[in-house]
């Protein structure tokens, strides 16, 4: 079953359209990257999924059911602009936020204590949030997002402001949550996160979805049959079905060439032909990074 299906979601404001006929399908137990430049409409989509605002048109289904108030407890949301009540103690805060998600007081208390233990921060329980460091507060925010055991977790730029150690802790938690059966939506424009974590991605630009699929699919779509070859000894000529994009000298008599093949050949054949004209030291397919795909698509949209 899919964790979330959106069909034709549209949101218009007086002067602009924030989302225009957006369809997305998020498979269960995946980490789904929602990508797009600033102002593309990611936050609007996330707010609609969280029922903070309503879409003008379109439908959203969560685990097969039409989105409804009762799904509030099914979703955990960590907004990009996040905060806590400064004057409230960590413990009280966690219990309160969990109660708002629909937990009973007892469950809320038990679970927040559990998480506090898990993050080895029991001594914070009675501290006011204003006395916590930024990193500490972020951990508390993360706990408040996941402690009601939502099946769908939405994280908007979760790593902004995290130091590498805390980012790693959170990353591990996210992977663990997926193992437990959660689906995670990541909204970000940090491509390295996408590269490391996401299974699926959707790219939203100018209020439209312009790309969606599994990471492998996307990369396959955008592979350009380009190879990076390090070799000893220069070669001048290539068969016409290959295109020498560039060649530069690495050190004396060592060169790096970038070669693009046309459609109906394969890499084995290229290696074979190369070994006849030069001494090949390394041969790597140049796979586009998510970042390159992102930039390429966004630029294409612009022009």
């Amino acid at each position: 079953m899919d964790a979330l299906i959106a069909r034709g979601v549209t949101k218009r404001y007086t002067n602009h359209t924030a989302l225009d006929q957006v369809d997305i399908t998020i498979p269960e137990r995946t980490i789904y990257g929602l990508l797009g430049p600033n102002g593309a409409g990611k936050t609007t989509l996330i707010r609609i999924i969280n029922q903070i605002i309503n879409a003008d048109q379109g439908e959203i289904f969560i685990f097969g059911e039409r989105l409804h108030q009762k799904h509030i407890g099914t979703i955990g949301y960590l907004p990009e602009e996040r905060g806590l009540y400064k004057k409230l103690k960590v413990g009280e805060q966690l219990i309160y936020l969990a109660q708002l998600k629909g937990l009973t007081k007892k469950d809320a208390t038990d679970r927040s204590k559990e998480w506090i233990r898990k993050f080895e921060v029991t001594e914070w329980w009675n501290k006011k949030v204003e006395d916590l460091s930024k990193g500490m507060a972020q951990k508390v925010q993360f706990i408040s997002t996941v402690m009601h055991e939502p099946k769908l977790i939405i994280l908007d730029e979760p790593f902004s402001g995290f130091d590498p150690v805390n980012a790693q802790i959170i990353t591990n938690e996210i992977l663990e949550l997926r193992e437990k059966g959660c689906t995670i939506i990541f909204s970000t424009h940090r491509m390295e996160t996408v590269e490391d974590l996401c299974d699926h991605i959707a790219l939203i630009d100018k209020s439209k979805k312009i790309l969606e699929g599994s990471k492998k699919q996307v990369k396959d779509t955008y592979r350009s049959n380009t190879f990076v070859v390090d070799h000893k000894g220069q070669f001048a000529q290539l068969p016409p079905r290959y295109n020498l994009v560039s060649q530069k000298i690495l050190e004396e008599n060592y060169y790096r060439s970038i070669i693009r093949m046309s459609g109906d050949t394969n890499s084995n054949q290229l290696i074979r032909e190369l070994t006849e004209i030069t001494e090949v030291h390394s041969f790597v397919e140049k796979i586009p990074t998510m970042s390159e795909i992102f930039i390429k698509l966004v630029k294409a949209e612009k022009s």
């Binding site: 996040r82 400064k86 309160y96 936020l97």
Partner: protein
């Protein structure tokens, strides 16, 4: 509804558990009587410590022989005015009173010279003493002796009765007006103080960025409602504690100090207000006040006061919540505060100009029906027990009023709390108001 309750509880407990709440709740009922006591004390001290001043009297008419009093010693001088002025300057006497020759029927041309700006009170007192003297002279001139005069002297004090009350209970216009004044001001302060608290609370949630997390769990309207009601409960709790504290305190005070000291103080005031004349035999004012309070429909007043506090607070509180949601900081909020507070301030002025002087006039009626001014205006009239239909009409329109402002505010609130860094003006507010879900 369960979520509104959670927010309500959080807001209520958070505020009530604060030290500042405890301090304000306990201190304020003590501060007011304390301030009054201190003022009274200073006043008394001043009365006792006020030196008896010497006034030189240059009486060219030869008719005015002034007797010394507690506060004035009159020294007759006889020399031309200019010379008298000169010599007066060299003395440490308080004033020089010049009385030219005059007709009894037209006593004019009297002058008072002093070395400093004389207080209104001193001027009035001296004028009073002279007037009294002239009156005696006139009586003699008309062949009225003092005995006849004493007989003539009547002290009319009108006691008014409200026939609508059972058995036509005696009513106390002055005390009623005093009570109306106090209640009206209390409502004004309450609505402002607690309305501001809503606004600050909303701004805090918005600037600390917690709000987006909260509205992913509850609807913005639930959040707004929970907050407004929670703070209302804080206000009512505080009010209830004050009612208890004040009644306990005043009972205790009356027991401890008895009526005597209060009576003395009142007499002191009475004496000062009518200098030179024989003190009117007054009914014991404390007794009168006590009787007045015991006759007042206390429960009726407390209930209706609570109603108007709640109603006025909800009406204005919703608007303050909308402002809090629209802005990013307290400074930014100021431009919107005045237009909101204006009707309340108008109600406050109406209290002095129309309601207290004439609680049953047409102006008073309208001010106490229009929901934006009625919390202050009707509370000012409460002690006069306005007609029931007016009370009901006023309360219904207040309920309609706060439902309306809450509706308006909620539409602005739901958009505003998610907006950061946008420059907000009235046009923007209207746009937000019109925006669909």
């Amino acid at each position: 509804m369960n979520k509104v309750w959670l927010i309500f509880k959080r807001e209520f407990l958070n505020r009530v558990q604060k030290k500042s709440f405890l301090i304000a709740t306990i201190l304020i009922p003590m501060i007011f009587p304390a301030i009054i006591a201190v003022m009274l004390y200073i006043f008394q001290q001043q009365e006792q410590g006020a030196t008896r001043v010497t006034v030189e009297v240059l009486d060219e008419s030869g008719k005015i022989a002034l007797e010394n009093t507690d506060r004035y010693e009159f020294v007759p001088v006889s020399m031309p005015l200019e010379q008298a002025q000169k010599s007066f300057k060299e003395t440490d006497h308080f004033a020089l009173l010049y009385i030219p020759p005059f007709e009894l029927s037209r006593p004019q041309g009297m002058q008072l010279f002093t070395k400093e700006n004389v207080s209104v009170r001193r001027e009035d007192e001296i004028a009073g003493i002279v007037e009294e003297r002239i009156r005696v002279l006139k009586m003699t001139a008309y062949n009225i002796n003092k005995e006849t005069l004493d007989k003539l002297k009547t002290d009319v004090s009108i006691k008014s009765f409200n026939l609508n009350d059972d058995a036509g209970k005696e009513s106390h216009t002055r005390l009623l007006s005093g009570l109306g004044f106090v209640l009206g001001i209390l409502i004004y302060i309450f609505v402002l103080v607690y309305g501001m608290q809503i606004m600050l609370g909303v701004i805090e949630e918005k600037t600390s960025k917690i709000v987006e997390v909260i509205v992913s769990s509850v609807r913005p309207f639930q959040l707004m409602l929970g907050k407004i009601l929670g703070i209302a409960a804080v206000g009512l709790t505080q009010f209830a504690i004050w009612v208890v504290l004040v009644s306990v305190l005043s009972t205790v005070t009356l027991r401890i100090f008895g009526f005597e000291s209060d009576q003395q103080a009142m007499e002191q005031i009475a004496k000062v207000n009518t200098p030179g004349t024989e003190q009117i035999i007054m009914a014991n004012p404390v007794m009168e006040a006590t009787e007045f309070i015991s006759e007042l429909p206390v429960l009726y007043i407390i209930f209706n006061f609570a109603f108007y506090f709640l109603g006025g607070y909800l009406l204005y509180g919703a608007l303050f919540a909308a402002v809090g949601a629209a802005v990013d900081s307290q400074q930014e909020a100021q431009q919107f505060n005045l237009p909101i507070m204006l009707p309340l301030i108008i109600g406050y002025f109406a209290l002095f100009m129309f309601i207290l002087p004439d609680p049953h006039s047409t102006a008073s009626f309208w001010f106490s029906i229009i929901p934006f001014t009625s919390p202050v205006a009707m509370v000012g009239r409460l002690a006069y027990e306005p007609p029931l239909w007016q009370l009901i009409l006023s309360q219904l329109s207040l309920i309609a009023g706060f439902i309306f402002t809450t509706w308006v505010a909620a539409r602005i609130y739901r958009v505003g709390i998610l907006m950061h860094g946008s420059k907000v003006n009235y046009k923007v507010l209207v746009k937000w108001f019109m925006m669909k879900g």
